[in-house]
Amino acid sequence: MTSSLLLSITTFIYLLCTVLYVAAVVFRYRPLLFAGTMTALGGFIIQTAGIILRWKESYDMGYGHAPLSNMYESLVFGAWSIIAIYLVFEWRSRQRALGFVPAGMAFIAMAYASFATGMDAKIQPLVPALKSNWLIAHVITCFLGYAAFAVSFGLSMLYLLRKDVKDNPGHGALAFLPNARQLDSINYQMIVFGFLWLSVGIITGSVWANSAWGTYWSWDPKETWSLITWFIYAALLHARTMKGWQGPRVAWLSMIGFACVLFTYFGVNYLLSGLHSYGR
């Protein structure tokens, strides 16, 4: 059993999970939601095992580092975070009908990690700059934030679709979902959670940079983009709390925020240069 086998299995489980959740909503058949949850949980456990095994394998190869060091590994961890956050959310809120959003995103992340051209799935040694315990703290916290924003992005899209649909059951799949007001409130909780972790992520990155280079902020493109993202969500929180922006405007801002997350993550690696372009 190797970690890459486990992670491949995970990819297909998340696909199955997405299909189950979507089918549940389309056919408005509740038992399928339960099946979706169980599949997500199963995939999550296998993926966790895969990540741990990969960690161990890197020690066996003599490199010895947490599996958070390149694009492949961070995508896998991103998928893991999305499912983790969603499962906790589902358990606490007993809202199941939204499962297809995170499941779909986790599947896309895993599939992209596995099949994108130029993606190197090999375990590589760490360059000296990345050898720090701050790496683990920084990547985990950033990804908790990104994952929450990813879920919020999905919820925002749903919100925009859902807001014009009446609640009564005659109205098809969308009416099966939580109503617009609930979506708005769930979305806000996700954003708050994401904002907290993005802040922790930026701060741990900054402390790390200071311990490695003596500068806690150097306006490197990745840093700058994470700050742009942070400003967007800070604006969203203020607008919502103090100016009573709710509903569509918050949904749009959240989607813009997530576009910034994506650019921070992919755009900076592929289009701009800087300290963080480890993903190449």
Binding site: G62, A97, D167
Partner: protein, 493 residues
């Protein structure tokens, strides 16, 4: 009149400075400006960017090539701070006053108007009802405080007042971070030094401002520099053994690697790069005019005459591995009263055409190199202020979002004909309404059962609805989906 008008306009400016509109404007402007900064080449990259000279001078005149340090970007940051300070001065006293306020008397009618409330009637007497209500509230939220009214029982319970102040912590943290950064930029510096193995130096090349040097009050010696590699060929670790020599005495001896620097007297040395430098080199110079061959020994940046001529030779640069061709010397030859001529001379390729400068054919006979370690040097006394800001920010955000100021009111009074006792409870939470409403529903269910209550119709039935939704979220009854402001938000405005 004039005076009044003036007052009006300065109040307007203050209002504007305290406004959330300005906050949003600044947030979006900072985001947009930062975006431009990541898309346009910054600093020295601009000259190599391939933009037309006109574009380059436009970029320069707007400060876009050094955007994050330009005065207008700093102004935006300052505007954020001023906005924050004015807003705080405006709001903090009001918040404190609100938190200090004594509870007014209330009756069931007033409580029923709350967004989260329940009113019920029971046949029990007020005296019987009172301990039951107190117990039910105690089991869900906590102990009610008796407000001591004679006509009816009024009790109130309040928790987490401090929660409302936490956001001020977040805002203070932003100011702290900015202050720390300011302090660092005023009294701190950043630079680098390259120290060859076995040598000591106190010269720091500063990063800001070209050719800016700084002399440390002590010396840093590089005893040894090592690089290790993985079997893939990728570098594994850079390590320098450093010694600090202060007043001629060796005071600190410590190896450093990337991510593990050395600090001495507030100055920190980070392993950042390495390279090879030329110690000395022996050249064979053949004059193709006279056919004579001469030997010279020289080192970097040293000018020597070519024996038997008036010409001079100088090694201006050294590269350990020039584009994969091995060691290369940048050699400059100058003849009296003529412009100097230079070229790269490849040490391992004696036949390379560049090895001929003017009438001289140059061969590198013997080369002795030394490794140098590249150290990043920084002194930043503001970093602790920034870190305090970071800590406060995280604590503040956590407490702002995950604590709340909750209040529960209860009122027991006889109804008009005196045959029933009316029990009214209401609650309000500053945050996370769903969780609070869940608990409130629990309280209402409890009260309904212990009081054997008969529901009474009042216009407010919101909690009932919330409950129905919770039980069957996907099948919740149709209701207005247009999100409106909650009471809380309306009140704040």
């Amino acid at each position: 009149m004039a005076n009044e008008k003036e007052k009006g306009s300065s109040a307007n400016i203050l209002d504007w400075l305290a406004s959330l509109k300005l906050t949003l404007f600044v947030f979006f402007s900072l985001a947009a400006a930062s975006t431009i900064g990541t898309l346009l080449p910054q600093g020295a990259e601009l000259e190599e960017s391939g933009f037309s000279p006109g574009t380059i001078s436009l970029i320069q005149s707007l400060g876009l090539n050094n955007l994050y340090h330009s005065s207008w970007f700093r102004m935006l940051l300052m505007l954020l701070c001023v906005n924050l300070l004015v807003c705080t001065i405006d709001r903090l006293p009001k918040t404190i006053k609100l938190l200090r306020r004594q509870e007014d008397q209330f009756d069931s009618n007033k409580l029923s108007k709350f967004g989260t409330s329940a009113v019920m009637a029971t046949r029990m007497s007020a005296e019987e009802v009172r301990p039951l209500v107190q117990n039910a509230v105690a089991e869900t939220f906590g102990q009610l405080k008796d407000l001591g009214s004679s006509a009816r029982f009024c009790g109130v319970l309040e928790k987490g007042r401090w929660s409302r102040l936490m956001v001020y912590g977040v805002h203070a943290s932003v100011i702290l971070v900015v202050l720390g950064a300011l302090l660092g930029s005023i009294v701190g510096y950043k630079g680098f030094m390259n120290i060859p193995e076995g040598e000591a130096s106190d010269e720091v090349e500063l990063t800001v401002g070209a050719h800016n040097h700084l002399t440390l009050p002590f010396q840093v010696k590089c005893d040894k520099f090592e690089v290790s590699f993985y079997d893939t060929g990728a570098p594994k670790e850079f390590k320098s053994d450093l010694t600090i020599i202060d007043n001629g005495k060796e005071v600190v001896k410590q190896p450093i690697v990337v991510n593990d620097p050395l600090s001495y007297n507030g100055v920190t040395f980070y392993q950042s790069s390495y390279g090879a430098t030329l110690k000395h080199v022996e050249l064979e110079i053949k004059d193709s005019n006279s056919g004579k061959t001469e030997k010279v020994t020289t080192s970097l940046q040293q000018t020597v005459s070519i024996p038997g001529t008036d010409d001079q030779i100088r090694i201006s640069e050294f590269q350990d591995n020039l584009m994969g061709f091995g060691p290369a010397l940048g050699v400059v030859i100058s003849k009296p009263a003529k412009p100097a001529n230079g070229s790269w001379v490849l040490a391992q390729k004696p036949d390379f055409h560049g090895n001929k400068i003017l009438n001289y054919q140059i061969k590198v006979k013997n080369i002795s190199k030394a490794n140098y370690t590249g150290l990043q040097v920084s002194r930043d006394p503001g970093v602790w202020v920034v870190y305090m800001g970071f800590t406060l920010m995280l604590l503040g955000i956590m407490l702002t979002f995950y604590s709340s100021h909750n209040k529960v009111w209860a009122c027991i009074e006889p109804n008009e004909n005196g045959n029933r006792t009316i029990v009214a409870v209401a609650g309000r939470s500053s945050r996370n309404a769903p969780a609070f409403n869940d608990k409130f529903d629990e309280l209402r269910d409890r009260l309904n059962s212990v009081l054997k209550a008969e529901p009474i119709k009042l216009e407010q039935t919101k909690p009932e609805k919330a409950k129905a939704e919770k039980a069957r979220p996907e099948k919740a009854k149709a209701e207005k989906t247009k999100p409106g402001k909650t009471k809380e938000e309306k009140k704040k405005k």
